[in-house]
Amino acid sequence: LAKTTQPISMDSYEGQEVNITCSHNNIATNDYITWYQQFPSQGPRFIIQGYKTKVTNEVASLFIPADRKSSTLSLPRVSLSDTAVYYCLVGDIFNDMRFGAGTRLTVKP
């Protein structure tokens, strides 16, 4: 079971870069890391996925060190609309992937 640990909550201000770190010390060799975003009263939405090093798409970057025991989701220049819960997941349902409580990000004006 690749358990993940991430901060319960974070605050930021508009225009700042936000980094959310997730620990997954017992990640398996073939596990990949996936981040989802969830707004109130909506289903989660895929943000980014990676295996190692750095992955970037139009909304975020994912940094994964060589030992893969942690990963950091980076949101550049956040806005009020980025206020949401962010979930870090490791692996898939076939190796007991779990949604934890996530990180509640609050962006202030």
């Binding site: 990949y32 289903g43 989660p44 895929f46 996925q49 349902i93 409580a101």
Partner: protein, 114 residues
């Protein structure tokens, strides 16, 4: 594409009643999932399916049943509803399970059992 659709959006059940939550996806995804989310908590997997005719239990399957007769549909059946089943239910689908197998979620069904 409509993506993943769920009906109904809201439902109130009395204890002991039964109901079916509907889920349909139009992306031709093989993998489908049912989750429940209690207030302030993460999602918990109830059941999943890797293709038509194949289903398996997730983390919290008790009190629920599923079927997968077509690729598109994955209904969740609640028999003998209990207050502990008050929750928001999300259906999701994905093309694969590996890298690139991101899940697409529906809007959810908010169920209250009283």
């Amino acid at each position: 594409n409509a993506g993943v659709t769920q009906t109904p959006k809201f439902r109130i059940l009395k204890i002991g009643q039964s109901m079916t939550l509907q889920c349909t996806q139009d992306m031709n995804h093989n993998y489908m999932y049912w989750y429940r989310q209690d207030p302030g908590m993460g999602l918990k997997l109830i059941y999943y399916s890797v293709g038509a005719g194949i289903t398996d239990k997730g983390e919290v399957p008790n009190g629920y049943n599923v079927s997968r007769s077509t690729t598109e549909d994955f209904p969740l059946r609640l028999e003998l509803a209990a207050p502990s089943q008050t929750s928001v239910y999300f259906c999701a689908s994905s093309y694969s399970r590996g890298l690139g197998g991101e899940q697409y979620f529906g809007p959810g069904t908010r169920l209250t059992v009283t």
